[in-house]
């Protein structure tokens, strides 16, 4: 009975093996082509802003990165490393070399240098604009590699395709958004891939690569603390669930030592790599894994009875030592007021921390918790597929799939705290959705294949055990094809709707450069508001190189990059007192504000005003934050003084403090004569939708020098001091120079 079957099986076996290797090769080629297409998709879906507007850098932070890259390309890396910037935070300056994450600028600078040495004449701006789409293609390929390690190539391709399209990632990596996250997400996924690869193979070579990829991540983004806390958490999870193996040791221990060293090499991190609480988890788990490794080793070489004796001995002695060490550690950590954590990390752990203690962090719109619709806007249908992916990871549960589950759980928590961290959730959601979709396809296609094989097996003598397993799939027999078709159609629809949604999101929602605004006029034509660039170019052409410009910190980077003038405060927000000084000046009456600005050598004040065109992100809407931040440092500024019955108003019912403060006066000066809207002197503010409270006033200490076409940016100059003061000191009639002393004026200094 056996021999005819084996004779039949013999030739088919070799033919089967040959066809299998051919199929594998064919599959490899197809996978490669699909990956190339995914890269092209990721690159092109981010090009909408370049097509719709122009190749320009967006937002605020990218302008700083662009300026730093310009400096790097002009002066070389040694000058960049030692650069002290005196054009911002006047009079303090800023140590750029020590406070910037260099990964992004070094990457773009290297690309520019390589491309130019090949005689392809790309400018620095072009390289900066297109860095983000290129690295998003790389990130998709890294997601393919990571998911392939967890589940297989089919899941990998699906995850890569999803990551290329997911709107949350598109929003931070469109062409022109030259910010740290553009390269950091690629570094994040790549580091995770190398960690999983080391865990699966136990090879020290991949462990080295893992440490180097982690170094690139530390260079790129402050979010690297996520990696150095997630990996120890996973190691601890593996140990606790009894999955300790020597591969785990090889994956983790060299990473900690090499990673800490490499992290201390980056000047921004420096000694924080060993001194702050963000890294303590890695050291603690480092010690724990050594203890566990030693325990397993001793268990391996001893007999069970002896091992029990050893355990009792070690437990009794070790417990006492442990308690002593932990007591010392707690004392050291508790002695610092923030328990060793930085402000931003504390905001993540305790979401109410920032609003109580650090108003600057609380005021940034990216740091607010997200709303439910933003989840569906940003990761769309993946929100439904993620739970299915989590279940698929449990069948079977391996080290790598437990890591992915931990990754998604922690990133969901953190994305719930800060909307900016939806970006960290995006790769996790794509990986899990890829796993879910690919598992669904696997089950259904396998059932079709088994149905065919069942038909053949019925003719032969059926072996009892095998049919038991096959029968599990068979009851779907009649409807399995229908189900598969349904899933195919559903996948088509999903992909289509996801595609359509992603493309729409990329084109409409996330491509706005925010330095150029557009609106549609009544006849469907496009009206462009280019006021910001108009104001900056006026500044660069009509003021001296050394003139200082005061504005709110939002516009600092753009002013230094485009207008090339020194500013007082910029988006780095590292000095709260300096920002509070500017906020106090904006909230004070004209005379006090003039004095504060004069003491800081300011020549021009820049104010953004949206009341004529209806631009909602202007300084009057941000004014309460200026009051709060200023009031946090200078107690004579009190927020209730600016509110009438707890409401923020600028109409006739506003408080006199509000109507007299500098921000009100600079924003609404002459706005009752606006010819555009023919308001006949009524002074209607289109954003607040009321008439303003105080009209027809004159400025005594400032003079208006420039207002842009749509009144969006208004620039004022500080009037020089008067030569002769009427009434105060009649004796001293000799003329004084402009830079005469303030104390002659005899007023109270708000700074004392």
């Amino acid at each position: 009975m056996a021999s005819p079957e084996s004779a039949v099986n013999g030739p088919t076996m070799t033919a089967g093996a040959a066809s299998k290797s051919l199929r594998n090769a064919f599959g490899g080629v197809i996978a490669f082509i699909i990956l190339v297409l995914i890269g092209v998709l990721a690159f092109s879906i981010r090009l909408f802003s370049v097509i719709k507007y122009e190749s320009v850098i967006h937002e605020f932070d990218p302008y700083f990165n662009y300026r730093v890259t310009q400096f790097l390309s002009k002066n070389g890396i040694y000058d960049f490393w030692n650069w002290f910037d005196d054009r911002t935070w006047y009079p303090l300056g800023r140590v750029i070399g020590g406070t910037v994450y260099p990964g992004l600028t070094l990457t773009a600078g290297t690309i520019w240098k390589v491309v130019n040495s090949l005689n392809i004449p790309l400018s620095v701006e072009t390289v900066c604009v297109f860095t983000a789409p290129i690295f998003s293609a790389f990130a998709s390929w890294a997601a393919y590699l990571l998911t392939k390690e967890v589940k297989g190539p089919g899941a990998g391709l699906t995850a890569a395709a999803l990551l290329a399209m997911v709107p949350s990632y598109i929003s931070r990596s469109v062409a022109g958004s030259y910010d740290n996250e553009a390269v950091a997400i690629f570094a994040l996924v790549f580091t995770f891939y190398l960690y999983i690869k080391t865990l699966n193979t136990g090879s020290l070579f991949y462990a080295t690569l893992n440490a180097l990829a982690y170094f690139y991540m530390v260079c790129s983004w402050g979010g690297y603390t996520f990696i150095i806390n997630l990996i120890p958490m996973h190691v601890l999870l593996c140990i606790v669930t009894g999955r300790y193996s020597s591969r785990l040791y090889i994956a983790y221990a060299p990473l900690v030592v090499l990673g800490t060293l490499l992290a201390s090499l980056v000047p921004v991190v420096g000694f924080n790599a060993v001194l702050t609480s963000e890294h303590f988890a890695s050291f603690l788990v480092f010690i724990i894994i050594h203890v566990v490794a030693l325990a397993y080793y001793i268990k391996g070489i001893l007999s069970p009875k002896m091992f029990k004796v050893a355990v009792t001995l070690v437990v009794s002695v070790g417990l006492a030592v442990c308690c002593a060490v932990i007591a010392i550690l707690i004392a050291v950590v508790a002695s610092s007021p923030t328990k060793g954590w930085s402000g931003r990390s504390l905001t993540l752990l305790d979401p109410t921390y920032a609003s109580k203690y650090i108003p600057i962090i609380a005021s940034v719109s990216e740091h607010q918790p997200p709303t439910w619709p933003s989840y569906f806007m940003d990761i769309n249908v993946l929100a439904f597929l993620v739970p299915a992916g989590i279940i698929a990871c449990f069948m079977p549960l391996t080290d790598s799939s437990s890591f992915v589950i931990l990754y998604i759980v922690t990133s969901v928590y953190f994305s719930g705290v800060m909307v900016r961290l939806m970006l960290v959730l995006a790769p996790a959601a794509c990986i899990l959705s890829g796993i879910a979709l690919s598992e669904a396809f696997n089950v259904l296609t396998r059932s079709i294949k088994n149905r065919k094989k069942e038909k053949e097996n019925v003719e032969k003598k059926p072996t009892p055990s095998k049919t038991e397993k096959r029968l599990l799939v068979l009851p779907l027999e009649a409807s399995v094809i229908a189900v598969l078709l349904l899933v195919l159609l559903g996948a088509f629809y999903v992909v289509f709707s996801v595609q359509v949604h992603c493309v729409w999101a990329a084109a409409e929602a996330y491509s706005a450069p925010s330095i150029v605004l557009t609106s549609h006029s009544n006849d469907g034509g496009l009206h462009v508001f280019d006021d910001f660039r108009e104001a900056y170019s006026w500044l660069s052409h009509n003021t001296d190189v050394d003139d200082k410009v005061a504005s709110w910190w939002d516009y600092g980077y753009q002013t230094t990059a485009m207008a090339n003038r020194t500013v007082l405060v910029d988006n780095n927000t590292w000095n709260n007192t300096h920002i509070a000084t500017v906020g106090t000046a904006m909230s004070s009456p004209e005379k006090q504000a003039w004095e504060i600005f004069h003491s800081l050598d300011v020549k021009y004040v820049l104010v953004v005003f949206g009341g004529v065109v209806g631009y909602p992100s202007d300084d009057i809407n941000k004014f309460l934050w200026m009051v709060r931040i200023g009031g946090g440092v200078f107690p004579h500024i009190k927020e209730p003084d600016y509110l009438r019955d707890g409401q923020y108003r600028i109409d006739a019912q506003a408080t006199p403090t509000m109507l007299n403060c500098l921000m009100y006066k600079l924003s609404y000066f002459r706005s009752d004569f606006i010819p555009i809207h023919k308001t006949d002197g009524k002074g209607f503010d289109r954003v607040r939708r009321t008439e303003i409270g105080k009209k027809h006033f004159k400025l005594t200490h400032f003079e208006e020098v420039f207002t842009t076409h749509h009144w969006m940016v208004r620039i004022y100059k500080l009037k020089p001091q008067r030569n002769r003061i009427r009434g105060k000191t009649k004796k001293s009639k000799s003329s004084r120079s402009v830079s005469s002393k303030r104390d002659v004026r005899g007023k109270r200094n708000p700074w004392h």
Partner: protein
């Protein structure tokens, strides 16, 4: 009565530990000696820092971390070369040693850079 039995048990434990360890092959024992030497050097550096003070901190960090790093990498090498480990049956010891050398190269390059 109980105390003497625990003392006897501890003695028996150490005996069995010693006899079990004596059975390990020689190349693994050499690696263990190397690990012990690295850890001892690290401890000496820490004691020296406690006596003299931690300035400059980067030199201290690089010294201690280079010792601990070498110890960790040697333990990884031992894991991969040990014939009792079933997971690493198909990894040739030469490959394991080459990986060890590469990782050490990277580690010491970083140390040289960081030492200041």
């Amino acid at each position: 009565m109980g105390r003497s039995s625990t003392v006897k048990e501890t003695q028996a434990l150490f005996q069995s530990l010693r006899s079990a360890y004596a059975a390990t092959p020689n190349n693994l024992k050499i690696i263990d000696v190397f690990v012990g030497f690295a850890v001892l050097t690290a401890i000496i550096q820490v004691v020296y820092m406690a006596v003299v003070g931690s300035f400059p901190f980067n030199s201290f960090l690089s010294g201690v971390l280079s010792c601990i790093g070498t110890a960790v990498l040697a333990v990884c090498l031992r894991i991969q070369v040990n014939k009792d480990n079933k997971e690493f049956k198909d990894v040739a010891p030469e490959r394991a040693f080459a990986d060890f050398i590469l990782c050490n190269l990277v580690l010491h390059l970083v140390i040289m850079n960081f030492m200041g």
